[in-house]
Amino acid sequence: MRSAGDGSARRLARVGLLIALAGVLQVLEASVPSPAPWFRLGLSNALVLVALERWGVREGAMVAAGKVLLGALLTGRLLSPGFFLAVSGTGAALVVMAAAVRLPGILGYAGIGALGAQAHAVAQLAAAAVLLGTPAVWGLLPVMGTLAVVAGCFTGAAAAAVAALVPEPGLTPPPRAGTG
């Protein structure tokens, strides 16, 4: 048995790696053209799903929080209206995906990704409705939700690919020559 200290250092390293990756993905996505100005694929949410599925709610929440903060710093949106939308969206996606991951072996990555993306869109519109003081923004839901569900399937598939590189919880990682 390794000590608890070793475990938390490992966790910090894993979570930190995913947060860094999430930051890079957000900057890349911000610079790529999209079908609607407010639409993004949300690949960084795939990393939240990987953390949730492979390690647990705590790690998922850490990746989600780190992702939002780092993304806001890198794209210059800290404390802007867009930042509050990101916090609401990511938070809602985290809660919904954490619940969906608990249903063992029933849902695949694509379904969980779609649920998370839908939650993200709904929470963003709710936050926008509060910020603007009008429910009129809900008119964006059909388009935004539809794009989100499609994007969520893609991010779910991306999460499956990343998760395949991460050892199952409770198993020792396969021995490798050198460090990766």
Binding site: W38, Y109, A110, A128, L132, A136, L140, V149, A160
Partner: protein, 117 residues
């Protein structure tokens, strides 16, 4: 090991898509008016009214109300998402500018309109 895609996923995706489009179906009919929400309240404007200027925390947002749709023609916001969204013609459709607290909605003629009030 969790699968990438299961039959239940297809059901979930279909359900979510149906939900989104059910919301869309609530606004039908011909576009009848534009509803401009800003820091100074809600304004109903007839379609074809032309250029409407509204104020917000960042400055002046210029809304163009054409006979068949609305758009934000210019905005003082940093990202210009509202301007880049272009024309919205569908009843229930919205252009929103969060930084300047402006939303423009196309109201439909038919049915009870519970949204937007």
């Amino acid at each position: 090991m969790r699968r990438r895609f299961t039959p239940l996923d297809a059901l979930v995706v279909a359900g979510l898509l149906a939900l989104n489009w059910a919301v869309l179906g609530r606004d039908r009919g011909e576009p009848s008016a534009a509803e401009i929400v800003s820091a100074s309240g809600i304004r109903q404007v007839r379609l074809g009214a032309g250029v409407v200027r509204v104020g917000g925390p960042l400055g002046e947002t210029v809304v163009e109300v054409a006979p068949d749709g609305v758009r934000v023609a210019s905005s003082p916001c940093p990202l210009q998402l509202c301007v880049r969204q272009g024309w919205v013609r569908r009843p229930g459709g919205v252009v929103a500018c969060l930084p300047n607290r402006v939303a423009v909605r196309v109201a439909g003629r038919e049915g009870v309109d519970a949204v937007g009030r």
